[in-house]
Symmetry: C2
Subunit: 414 residues, 2 copies
């Protein structure tokens, strides 16, 4: 009988693994709770109305439609029977000979579960649409307030977390308010909107070299973003965020301060590593189990500290596919192709090999790389066009308020 490989997750790691098994004599089943592969690096642009969801997401089964040895199943995993070798999910159960766990990460609140009520995270399309609704509605509510004082909390945007997502969100929010919305209102002046970025560490983008952190900070200040570095959030409530030395009144809090692994360690019954991750050896085999691999954000490779980026997942997925076809002694080695973060129009920071880039050069590199990485050619053209149009007109493409519920207060356990 042909070996059955079940891949959990259709993100960067899972998709790459399935694709790398195209010519292998195995039967692959990809299980994901969503019907689409999501290009997460551009998710913040959906949240800030620059792109439509469909521009950065495409049906997993459509991407893999010509690969005859792959079946795609839209289902939520509920458990894994490692002894009986089967995955339990919302549509039934699926047996496996080899299991690849690539379920990624989710927002983490580090013991402050109540903060989910007052903040919006950014992990999937629904998050992004909820944030887009919330941000656009804040301007509408400010416009409808009778007095200037009442408008302030609506026009104050607080982003918590100074990593790439926080930096990108803060930059995009500042540009949305100060450029795109500038002439749309009659009672409020969106250019007076405050964007505050809070980071507990003493610099932004802590995984980048210090000089690039400084450049990112300067770029954000240039956009009018207020930086609060070395500040810890003490409390978040309805309409406010408290720091040790300050209280900010705001109706808009973006949570970009942390991720934890999806609960795969619990499904597998193994002791979780840092951030709930599944501990794997240098062959990406889950420690203590047979025939189970884990890649990407959900995995912690023993003795290595890998960043939570697409490349780690993709290289891991490809490596595991190779191991499934022809097991070798070669351990998994992550090849760092570079890291980037963008800060609105014309600014970005990037580390590529030994080169450190910033400003316009880094920004154009960022644009090109992200265009090339989009899985579907058509979306490359659309995103390229939307970027050019937005660059020329300052008008983002997708400023729609839809009735999708705000996801505040919803427990988003997978």
């Amino acid at each position: 009988m042909v070996r059955r490989v079940v891949v959990l997750g259709g993100g960067f790691g899972g998709l790459k693994c399935a694709q790398a098994l195209a010519r292998a004599d195995v039967e692959v089943t990809v299980i994901d709770k969503a019907n689409h592969h999501l290009f997460q690096p551009l998710l913040y642009q959906v949240a800030t109305a620059g792109l439509s969801p469909a521009n950065i997401a495409w049906p997993i089964r459509n991407i893999l439609r010509h690969q005859d040895n792959v079946t795609v199943l839209m289902a939520e995993v509920t458990g894994i029977d490692t002894a009986g070798k089967l995955v339990r999910h919302s549509e039934g159960e699926t047996p496996y000979d080899t299991l690849v766990v690539a379920t990624g990460s989710r927002n983490a609140y580090f013991g402050h579960a109540d903060w989910t009520e007052h903040t919006l995270g950014l992990k999937d399309i629904d998050d992004a649409l909820a944030m887009r609704n919330s941000v656009l509605r804040a301007f509408e509510e400010a416009e409808a307030q009778p007095d200037a004082q009442a408008r302030l909390p609506y026009l104050t945007f607080v982003v918590i977390g100074g990593g790439p997502t926080g930096v990108e969100m803060a930059g995009a929010l500042a540009e949305l308010a100060k450029r795109a919305m500038a002439s749309d209102f009659r009672h409020i002046d969106p250019t007076h909107a405050r964007v505050v970025l809070i980071e507990a560490g003493d610099r932004l983008l802590s995984t980048f070299p210090e000089d690039l952190s400084a450049k990112a900070a300067a770029s954000l200040r240039g956009l009018g973003v207020e930086l609060r570095l070395g500040k810890r959030v003490q409390k978040i409530g309805d309409g406010y965020v408290c720091l040790a030395d300050d209280q900010i009144f705001t109706k808009n809090v973006v949570w970009a301060a942390g991720m934890e692994a999806t609960p795969a360690a619990i499904w597998l019954g193994v002791t979780p590593g840092h951030g709930g991750r599944v501990v794997v050896d240098d062959h990406l085999r889950v420690v203590g189990l047979e025939d189970v691999y884990a890649v990407g954000d959900v995995a912690e490779v023993q003795g290595q500290e890998l960043p939570g980026v697409a490349q780690v997942a993709m290289q891991g997925g490809r490596y595991v596919a190779g191991q499934i076809v022809t097991p070798t002694d070669e351990p998994f080695v992550y090849r760092d192709l570079g890291t980037m973060a963008t800060i609105g129009r014309k600014a970005a920071v990037a580390v590529i090999g030994r080169a450190k880039l910033s400003g316009f050069v880094a920004w154009t590199s960022w644009l090109s790389l992200h265009l090339v990485m989009l899985a579907v050619f058509r979306n490359r053209v659309i995103v390229f066009f939307q970027w050019i149009a937005a660059y020329l007109t300052y008008q983002p493409a997708a400023r729609l308020i839809t009735s999708v519920n705000s996801r505040r207060g919803v427990d988003r356990t997978r």
Copy 2:
């Protein structure tokens, strides 16, 4: 004091009226419950995953941003005090000297309120997204069913109503199933999906000439759509639709069988006309009230029978703007520029003046006209590109399932 004109609704009629008042010495306030103007003629393409919502919708306040005499307010109207001349809404109240009601129509169930639970209508972006989710999810659910019999209701799509919306939906659903989804699944064959179009009258597109109705019917049959003409729906329940002589098991029922006016007649305290519409004289003045006009789908012009199309609303809006600036004795006369309906790839029917078009010629006319009518240039380019790409690849652009709730069972009273 400058005259205050309040326009209710930012659809075709309201937007055109506000724009036509650009150089008038009046203060205009446009109130709409949505933040966007919607190009409704292409809404069925959002519902069938061909276009993204942002491709056919744009913020009203952004469209009008350079028109200094216009304020846009996002609010839901709750009542109108015609004696005190003010509009009550979710954000407070707005006084007017002249009121223009352009709130359009909504789905109507003609005494079968319980049918809303089992069907999806198509009137706004939220409807379209709910329908898209529902249609795409039906294929996923069919794929996950263990036996062939259980799959059938998921793969059966029933469209009720043979007007332009019903015809366009049936055609688009047939193409989605038989072309776009054809190679995406492993357990089901989407090309075997049934699309059934039910129309109580004895022909489709009853406002068109009979030979064009016949051509539309032939085109739909060519796409594999089953037509049930002269059949009335007796009952709709969970999983089935009953006709007098047949019962169809289906999980997907599209309601395109009727519209009624938004409840403006109730707000205004006037006796409603047909379909709850506000009765206006030949100057579009609401009968029995001073300084109140109504245009488009919400209005019934005494002695005239006008179709519920964009052109009627736009011409009405422009006419009323003229009357506000310089009242004349000239009555409103609707100038019929033509009517069109499309039936999937390469087929359409159109009446333009005395010319009757069908097939490919009508289809290209339909494409051009709808592109030109899109309010925002950028969306013309995007829609044009998406159409070309879909034409060449058979792959629609926006096959995303998001978590927006199905709107079944929600009372959608404005």
